[in-house]
Point group: C2
Chain length 161, copies 2
Amino acid sequence: MARGAAQQTAHHTHNHKACIEDALTTARDLCAERGVQLTPLREKVLQIVWKSHKPVGAYDVLDELARSHKSARPPTVYRALDFLMAEGFIHKIESLNAYLGCVEAGAPHSGLFLICRKCGATEEIADPKLEAALDQASKRAGFQAERRVVEISGICAQCAA
Amino acid sequence: MARGAAQQTAHHTHNHKACIEDALTTARDLCAERGVQLTPLREKVLQIVWKSHKPVGAYDVLDELARSHKSARPPTVYRALDFLMAEGFIHKIESLNAYLGCVEAGAPHSGLFLICRKCGATEEIADPKLEAALDQASKRAGFQAERRVVEISGICAQCAA
DNA sequence: TGGCCAATGCTACACTATAACAAAGTTCCC
DNA sequence: GGGAACTTTGTTATAGTGTAGCATTGGCCA
Ligand SMILES: [Zn+2]
Ligand SMILES: [Zn+2]
Ligand SMILES: [Zn+2]
Ligand SMILES: [Zn+2]
């Protein structure tokens, strides 16, 4: 199933078209539910971000978008990215200033990202134990956590081999 | 002792001059040990970053530095920041594009940061349990972790009260 | 004295992101 | 259908963050 495919990394041979289709379908469904507009522009941007499992910079999105949308400018892209982030369809990778499709759109969450510095492939993983540890650490400091950024850089399993 | 003072947040009344002096002394000692140069310029930048317990942007550093160092330019600041990061005297807060003095300089580590979105005070905490959970999560994915970015934004204890 | 290396000076530029206002499209009510 | 209210997009300009590349300085050592 597509959902499963979406959770594989870029290294695994997989039908990436299914990843994209799955992401678009999920986004369409959620937008319909929520009564917000997944306009053609926003959908196109989502599709561009999902072109790979590597984080993509806003200006790379712009370059790609401009091929089919001549009037595209930086605000065009940033607005679409802001919308997609607000709806939880993409994440921003802060340590790269780049954006990545979310593999678990819908369920609000702050992901944990494993970023390969060699191939760029970035995997989003969920780890309840880790999230509990994060919550506990905040709590111990009397801190009301609202947003988490957890990004681990290194070498992915495939590049290490 | 100064080391203790350095670990308090900006809200706690504390002798912040001791924080700064402690950071500078530690840096001087470590640079001597390591045979690297803590030049007046680098020391001044370190002092500016330590002016508070809030992350400070590179261009804010530049503005401050320029008051005593007219020839300062962006590369001047970024080179100094790069040096200070390489030596482990400051951290970059990725989600803010800003820099913060390290409270545990010397011991190489990637800190966990609690960033108050109201007052800006940012606390660096160490949490072995959390670090173990991070290591375990990476390991489970077959990932060789090299660098960690863990930043939690929210409301600090003092601002919540 | 001259070569080497680290640090800084200096100019220009690349990359990332937002402000502000105008125009066009959508919704919804009458 | 008309029209107000709202959302989305167009457009220009600019703010904010970070580097490239080469010149200069100054210390150290052969
Ligand atoms: Zn895929
Ligand atoms: Zn890799
Ligand atoms: Zn202090
Ligand atoms: Zn606060």
